[in-house]
Symmetry: C2
Subunit: 151 residues, 2 copies
């Protein structure tokens, strides 16, 4: 049965959106007892092909990662155009954004989640892979991210 759902995939990331990635990285580094990671900026739209609600978006993000073994904590500071990151941050300083699964067959997983009533809200490429955010907020209480290797 688990072959037919996300439990067969690898849950790999808990991600937050933050207003100030330097401040958040420092606070998390202190809580975790790890060095402050350097933030990186995602590529421009022409590289990432980012789409938000089906339309191209100039949204970018500054990212920082803390590796906790099986799980990575990802901090995301929204930059530029409209995005699910910006939506998730709202007016606050920081908030949970998504739970990520590394998936083997992204298209099949998306089809399955769509059949369950969830919609793709944002997609984009990154070096070596592709991300797909599926809006599970109403049905599951959280946004899911599917991470796939580039075909």
């Amino acid at each position: 049965m688990a072959d037919e759902g996300l439990a067969a995939e690898t849950v790999c990331q808990v991600a937050l959106v933050v207003k100030d990635i330097e401040k958040a990285s420092k606070a998390w580094a202190e809580a975790l007892g790890l060095p402050v990671p350097e933030a990186s900026l995602t590529g421009p739209a022409e590289e990432t092909g980012a789409r938000y609600h089906g339309r191209p978006t100039a949204a970018r993000a500054r990212l920082a990662f803390f590796n906790l073994g099986p799980i990575t904590i990802e901090l995301i500071e929204p930059v530029g155009g409209p995005s699910t990151w910006r939506d998730g941050l709202g007016e606050g300083d920081g908030a949970f954004h998504h739970l990520a699964f590394r998936v083997r067959d992204a298209e099949r997983t998306v089809e399955r989640l769509q059949a369950q009533g969830m919609e793709v809200v944002q997609t984009g490429d990154f070096p070596g892979g592709r991300y797909i955010y599926v809006d599970g907020r109403e049905r599951l209480g959280v946004t899911l991210e599917l991470l796939a290797s580039r075909p």
Copy 2:
């Protein structure tokens, strides 16, 4: 350096608060491809000794768990008195609530997080252990749960 922070502990749980645990369990089971777990009810106040903002509370919760290997997804439906669960749910159907770490020395971890500006918001016992919620929302963007074996 990791000896001095949560990175030295085991991150073990991503927890959500939900309005209707049967509905949420069914939706998650479908997304994950796992059987629908049976919900359990936490013990009454005289068993759990639950405290919310330092005061005894009659808060209880219905819980359901999905085991994804290194990480468990926990669904929490608030029942009874005031609690951080109820606060987290607000008017919605479901929302991320906390990230849990299994800790070896809960008191030392709490002291360390308090020194960083975070406060204990709720505590309670469960069979074999004790939970401590630390409000990291302002500083980290999320509430942390520390899970300790009963001394």
